[in-house]
Symmetry: C2
Subunit: 202 residues, 2 copies
């Protein structure tokens, strides 16, 4: 088994943190996205979307998409549960994971994609749309701050994949100057707590 | 149990098709998104994102996000499996579901959001970004046509949630003039097959 990883990109970090929380070690291959190694033929033959991370199983099966890779490990080694236990809990964790991804992490990554020099010439950038995403991300941070008033973690009283997605999204916000605001006390408390877990260094 | 549904919107249809394939009937409440009922206080109190569909369990628990609602029913009633069986298969179905969503259905819905009069004044539209999404959606239809050359369904030889997401995305493309091209024979064969299933009428 091999995990195609990239140290600087946000999505591979989601999987690294997930694995650290599970206590699972997987050999990694570093992909240099700065040199666009993930846009070259050998990589694209395995993952036509060019996304990082990607997991290659021993039989050659490729699993791409961070959350799908996490699902593989969750079902292979259920403890500690990071994606819920039982129908209702799994659905609620998936709801929160999706909200953290679609409402916060993706807008933050989309701001970067549409405004940062890194993507200049690589994709068609629309800075005006980047500004829309940035404003939306700030609003959603306000919202999740209010949600965290009455519970320890994003999806309830247990750390889950939803916390990982939010943490990675917020940390990646630095490059686009999207950050937790000083009056967001609940979010700050949450951030300090999840950042102090050993997995956050992954 | 109540499913908050909206006949015209694409995401509720994903859940309706999923339920039809499972043979599960759930009482529904119609939400008029044309009148923005999903942006009013009673609905937002249950789902702060205002998204449709939303599932309300008998104990008042709210599950939002189409895929999370599907997960709830998949785990409550595993047969027929629409989200995979076992760690590897579940991960692969999730990979394909996400690819169909992130690479095809979301760009198609995003084209609509950024270019159609329906969203004028409701959200900040960036038509230039809508055009980027539209072009990307056409390219991804080419790609999935090539993927479907060697298999019956999106994630392999069995109908899954990935087929539902692609079908709903493509059908919703009509309003933005995004459609399967005549030379896309594999995709056309797939489309005809999944469209002829009784669930497609849901």
């Amino acid at each position: 088994m091999k995990l195609y990883d990239s140290a600087m990109a946000p999505n591979p970090r989601r999987v690294r943190i997930f694995l650290a929380e599970k206590g699972i070690e997987v050999p990694t291959v570093q992909i240099d996205i700065g040199k666009a190694e993930n846009r070259e033929a050998p990589y694209l033959a395995k993952n036509p979307m060019g996304g990082v991370p990607m997991l290659e199983l021993d039989d050659g099966t490729i699993i791409a998409e961070s959350v799908a890779i996490c699902r593989y490990f969750e079902q292979s080694q259920p403890e500690p549960a990071l994606m819920g236990v039982g129908a209702q809990d799994c659905a609620l964790v998936e709801m929160w994971q999706r909200r953290m991804e679609l409402e916060i992490a993706s807008p933050i990554m989309g701001t970067f994609r549409n405004t940062h020099d890194f993507f200049k010439g690589r994709i068609p950038q629309v800075p005006e749309y980047g500004a829309v995403l940035k404003e939306s991300a700030f609003k959603r941070l306000e919202w999740i701050d209010s949600e965290l008033a009455d519970r320890q973690f994003v999806a309830g009283d247990r750390y889950t994949i939803a916390d990982i997605t939010l943490l990675v999204g917020i940390d990646f916000g630095r490059v686009s100057k999207i950050a937790i605001q000083p009056d967001q006390k609940n979010l700050t408390r949450w951030y300090d707590e999840v950042s102090s877990r050993p997995s956050a260094k992954a």
